[in-house]
C-alpha cells in the first residue's frame, strides 16, 4: 500500500522516466493533499515499488547464481536490471536458474510466478516475497 504524505514517499528501483529532482509539485502549497496526476498509484501496481524492493544482498546472491549458471566472464556486468535472456540464458538455463534459486533460498516457485521473471530484480523480489511467506 502506498502512503502519500510527501516526506515518506520513497521511490526505489525506478526506471529512468522519473528523476527525483523533477517532482511536479509546482503550485502545491499543502503537502497533505498532494496529487500526482501522472502517476497511477493503484494498490498492487507493480510499476512503482514503494519500499518493497528486494534487499541488495538478495539481488547480489541472484547475480552470483546467474553468473555461475551462465558462465559469465568476471568483468561482465550483472545487475538487477539484467535480463536473463540478454545474459545468454536459453530455456534450459532459465529452468536451472530457478531451480538454483529455490535451493539457495529454500523456496518453491510456482509456474505462473516463474513465467513473470525476466530480470535479476524480478527474481530477487519474488524470492523475498516467498521467503516472507515462509516466515509468516
Amino acid at each position: 500500500m502506498a502512503s502519500t504524505t510527501g516526506a515518506s514517499l520513497k521511490f526505489t528501483s525506478l526506471s529512468s522516466s522519473f528523476k527525483q529532482t523533477q517532482v511536479p509539485l509546482r503550485g502545491v502549497s499543502n503537502v497533505n493533499s498532494v496529487s500526482f496526476p501522472s502517476l497511477r498509484m493503484r494498490p498492487g501496481s507493480l510499476r512503482f515499488r514503494v519500499s518493497c524492493a528486494a534487499k541488495p544482498e538478495t539481488v547480489n546472491k541472484v547475480c552470483e547464481i546467474v553468473r555461475k549458471q551462465l558462465a559469465l566472464p568476471d568483468d561482465s556486468s550483472v545487475t538487477g536490471e539484467s535480463k536473463f535472456s540478454t545474459l545468454g540464458a536459453d530455456s534450459l538455463d532459465t529452468v536451472e536458474i530457478v531451480m538454483g534459486l529455490e535451493e539457495e533460498f529454500g523456496i518453491s516457485v510456482e509456474e505462473e510466478s516463474a513465467q513473470s521473471i525476466s530480470t535479476v530484480q524480478d527474481a530477487a523480489d519474488l524470492i523475498e516475497k516467498l521467503m516472507d511467506k515462509n516466515c509468516a
Binding site: L72, S76, S77, T86, L87, G88, D90, S91, L92, T94, V95, E96, M99, E111, A114, Q115
Partner: protein
C-alpha cells in the same frame, strides 16, 4: 504452389569469426530498429547468433514472398515471437509464418504457408558441474511419467542425455510454434514415437492429430525439431498476427500434409549477398 512456403534453412556460424568492422557491416544490413536487440547481448556468440537469425528472416521473406527489402516489416509479439506484418503482400499463402532457433554452432529458420511452425535446435552439451541424472532432474516436472521413464531407462549416461535432449527439443518446437515460447508449457504436451519417427502428441492429455513433428540431427551433436500444427492452438497475441485460424478439414489437410523438406545449408556470406542485393535494388 503451397510447397514453396515450406522452407528449412540452416547456417553453421562456427567458422564465422567477425572482426568489429565485419560485425558492423553485417549489422548495417539490417534496419536500425533491430540493432539494439542484437547488441544488447553480453556474449559475442549470442550477438552473432541474434544477427544471423535476423538476416535469415529478411532473406527468407524476400526470397519466398518476393517482398522488396524496404517493405519488409518484421515485429515481435509480447512473448517475443517474430512475425511478418502483412499488408497486401502476403496473399500467396493462407498464413505464411516462420520460426527461428539457434543453439551452439547453428542458426536455423523454418516457414510454413498455412500451419503454425515451430523450430528448435538443441546442442548435446554434457553437464560439467553435476552428473547427468542430477542435471536432468532439474527438468523432471516438464515431462510426463511415460516420457520420464523412457529417458531414465535409456541406458548409459550418454543415451539418457540423448533421449532427454530429443524430448526437450520436440517440446520446445511445440511451445515455440504456438508462440508461447516458455519452458513452462512443456509438460502439457506428451510425445509418442516409434524410434523417433511417426511422432504424435497428446495435448493436455488428449490425442491431437492436427500436429506433425520431425526430429533429425544437424551434425556435431545438434538435434533439430520441427513442429507443424493448427493455427487455433496459437497464443492470443500470435493469433492476431495470422490471416486465418479457422479451416475446414480439407483446407487444413492441404497444409498439414505438405511434405516436410530437409534442411538447406546457407552460408553467412550468401546471406550477406542476398540482403545486400535486396537492399540496393529498391
Amino acid at each position: 504452389m503451397m510447397e514453396k512456403g515450406v522452407q528449412r534453412w540452416v547456417v553453421d556460424i562456427s567458422t564465422w569469426d567477425p572482426s568489429t568492422d565485419d560485425f558492423s557491416y553485417a549489422l548495417s544490413l539490417l534496419p536500425q530498429h533491430h540493432h539494439s536487440s542484437i547488441t544488447r547481448f553480453v556474449k559475442k556468440d549470442d550477438r552473432k547468433r541474434a544477427l544471423i537469425s535476423w538476416l535469415l528472416q529478411y532473406a527468407l521473406v524476400h526470397e519466398v514472398l518476393g517482398i522488396p527489402y524496404h517493405e519488409i516489416v518484421i515485429k515481435r509479439t509480447l512473448e517475443g515471437k517474430p512475425f511478418l506484418e502483412c499488408g497486401r503482400v502476403c496473399l500467396d499463402f493462407p498464413n505464411f509464418n516462420f520460426n527461428v532457433s539457434h543453439h551452439g554452432d547453428y542458426v536455423a529458420i523454418a516457414s510454413e504457408p498455412l500451419c503454425l511452425v515451430g523450430l528448435d535446435i538443441v546442442s548435446h552439451m554434457i553437464p560439467e558441474k553435476e552428473t547427468v541424472l542430477e542435471f536432468i532432474q532439474n527438468f523432471s516436472s516438464c515431462f510426463s511419467s511415460l516420457e520420464w521413464d523412457q529417458i531414465v531407462t535409456a541406458g548409459s549416461n550418454d543415451e539418457v542425455l540423448t533421449e532427454f535432449y530429443r524430448y526437450w527439443c520436440l517440446k520446445e518446437a511445440y511451445v515455440k510454434a504456438t508462440g508461447s515460447g516458455l519452458a513452462y508449457g512443456l509438460h502439457k504436451v506428451e510425445f509418442y514415437h516409434t524410434s523417433w519417427t511417426d511422432i504424435s502428441v497428446k495435448v493436455d492429455g488428449v490425442r491431437n492429430a492436427q500436429w506433425r513433428f520431425w526430429l533429425s540431427e544437424l551434425g556435431k551433436g545438434h538435434y533439430v525439431s520441427i513442429a507443424r500444427g493448427h493455427p487455433i492452438s496459437a497464443t492470443e497475441s500470435y493469433k492476431r498476427t495470422l490471416n486465418q485460424t479457422k479451416f475446414n478439414e480439407e483446407e487444413y489437410n492441404e497444409g498439414l500434409l505438405l511434405p516436410n523438406v530437409s534442411f538447406v545449408w546457407r552460408t553467412v556470406e550468401e546471406l550477406f549477398l542476398v540482403i545486400h542485393k535486396a537492399k540496393s535494388s529498391c
